[in-house]
Symmetry: C2
Subunit: 396 residues, 2 copies
């Protein structure tokens, strides 16, 4: 048996993401009864704090569910059989909107520019002109499967101009990529707990404008658990009431995580993700690796790196996991074996990026693809140094 | 306010060392009553498991104390006023033996070759020849203040030949640097819990040979809490009995940690520390930095790196902590500002070394000492690749 210096485990995926120790410690506390005063206060406090992350005045409807549950709620509340909808998909999670719309019987227009592409707001406008009567458009903020962050601000402007509702899947993007729900005029933003909100999976959110709530109220049937109107009514009580037993441990965790986001400041949180993404892109470039698709400065959630054709790309996440203890994402579906995704989403710091790059450099060497050991790490370090963060901190 | 990508905290000191998550989880369990069956079983199991780490057939006497408490026990049990003793000191922790011997009134011979030097077994033999009647020699396995691991095997051979007892401070070395207590003939090995045993501070150990126990029994007074004879008698009962209330939470933690050491295998544990040290030395060399003192392949607990004269060396641990969240050791006493110590002691893996080197590279750049970013990291990665560990793991 050979000595193994790499037995520690590093969760480096874009979801679930690493959970901060103070959040884990909170979850080890005794479970609260949700109807007891402490449980009621916790629920109220979390509901009070959530809108800051969405940058909204909406009530943020909170469900015990995966992020996909919140996506389901959006379609269940806005689409009845025959409702005209436009679903945009440029990757696996965009395609989930299509599957949901089809499941609920929408009269569906699909906009599928291809994986790795960026949704084009003008094309969405054209499709809305061409297909009169579309009531709701479904789109994605950060497409985790490709690393692309779409221009939701521009999409929202077009959709609003055409008079439709816009529902955005921000499951992986919320708290990582800039999103201004109210300022941009996004009617519905759905999200999950296990990404940049830094807690385990199990809570899902739908931040729903009054306009979207009214649309849901006008289509009252065909759903129960995910009904927005009931949920909003219960959450608006004083004190707020959860229609079903809420996952109190996750609420307690979220309370701590939201406090961390408040302390850092949401704009600084976005900026940190941008810096980590910039360092990751510099690291990949220094290793002579191309990025997948068409990422830009918005692509701050996960960086998709195209793997060299000369190696068996499926081996990269496998070696990272089996040899280095790093759980990272390869490509999904049509990108399987073609990309490695380095996450920077939630509780990630500079050394997480450097660790991912170190692991990648050693893995590529093992696969016979020559890279200069330390080159990617050094390039990323230079980005951090140039950002001036540590200098500023030490000067304080 | 500048964005800060370095707010995560990294405990990179040589003690307390990082505690594995499974050990932390165990410590969050309810406290056991030490006289209840589960408490008694836990105590018995830990006492049964401890000798493997010391490589001994001795009972390992266990105290609720810091490591220095176990050192105190060695002097309190073997030295009465006027007892002739030889204390060896080539750093801060060697000097603690001198302080203890003086406190207990020993007729003391001191061997102090200077900080950073390696204890010379021949010189110890010469001093024993020159000072007839020395009953006990005190020495150090790993001198944490300088990074030097002494050649205890050779020292033990000389001391045994001259008929004296040898007591070794292995507080920081046990479980990191090779130590074969019985095979080498070391009478007393003292250790602490917060180093390579991977649990928090609070437990101290003295593995005492029958010869040393007999010597203690012949000097029965002047101690109580740390009395070896009483402790050994209580621990040898069936089931073993702790003379005083033991820190049950730390015992539960130690039980998990000892299981981890068993699973890895103590020789593999030593080998891992050797590999991490080799990678650290290669990283320092690639950055053009000298090692402090005279380290060799045994110096596997902590690597002391001499800092360039051109910079203010006290800034290095300060910037690492304040800017990068890395708590690392600078120099102590006469080495303050002159060295940085990178620990690899206990729950450390390859990425911990790479993180320390990354932090050092960025810190040196901030201090105006030009190093090629990534060069130290890359050199360390090459050591890991050449060790072939990951390749072997991925082939499995």
């Amino acid at each position: 048996m050979t000595t193994n210096a790499f037995t520690k485990q590093y969760l480096m995926t874009a979801g679930p993401t690493p959970v901060p120790p103070q959040v884990l410690a909170k979850m080890a506390e005794p479970v609260l009864y949700h109807r007891a005063p402490a449980g009621v206060e916790l629920y109220a406090r979390v509901l009070e704090r959530l809108p800051q992350v969405f940058r909204t005045q909406n009530d943020v409807l909170t469900f015990a569910a995966s992020g996909s549950g919140a996506m389901d709620s959006a379609v269940a509340n806005l689409v009845r059989p025959g409702t005209k909808a436009l679903a945009c998909a440029a990757g696996k999670f965009g395609e989930r909107w299509i599957e949901l719309c089809e499941a609920y019987g929408a009269d569906l227009v699909k906009y599928e520019p291809g994986w790795g592409e960026r949704l084009d707001p003008q094309e969405i406008g054209r499709l809305l002109d061409e297909n009169a009567g579309v009531e709701v458009v479904f789109a994605t903020l950060s497409e985790t499967s490709t690393g692309i962050v779409h221009d939701v601000e521009a999409i929202a402007a077009v959709v609003r101009e055409k008079g439709a509702l816009l529902a955005v899947d921000a499951v992986s993007g919320l708290g990582a990529a800039k999103l201004e729900q109210d300022a941009w005029g996004v009617d519905v933003v759905v999200a999950g707990s296990q990404k940049a909100l830094m807690i385990p999976p199990g809570l899902a959110f739908a931040s729903v404008s009054q306009r979207a709530l009214d649309a849901a109220a006008a289509k009252p049937e065909g759903r129960y658990y995910f009904d927005w109107v009931t949920t909003a009514k219960q959450q608006r009580k004083d004190p707020p009431n959860s229609p079903f037993t809420p996952p109190v441990t996750l609420l307690a965790a979220l309370d701590v995580a939201l406090g961390m986001i408040e302390d850092e400041g949401i704009e600084q949180v976005w900026e940190r993700h941008a810096l980590l993404a910039r360092a990751t892109r510099a690291g990949a470039a220094a290793l002579g690796l191309e990025l997948y698709g068409d990422p830009d400065e918005r692509s701050n959630v996960v960086t998709a790196i195209a793997l060299p054709d000369s190696i068996d790309g499926k081996q990269v996440p496998k070696i990272l996991r089996d040899s280095y203890g790093i759980t990272a994402n390869g490509g999904q579906s049509q990108l399987s074996g073609k990309i490695l995704r380095i996450a920077h989403c939630g509780y990630f710091g500079g050394f997480d990026i450097l660790t991912s790059l170190s692991g990648l450099e050693m893995t590529l060497a093992q696969l016979g693809h020559p890279v200069e050991q330390g080159a990617g790490v050094g390039a990323a370090q230079k980005v951090f140094l140039e950002a001036g963060v540590p200098a500023a901190a030490s000067a304080a």
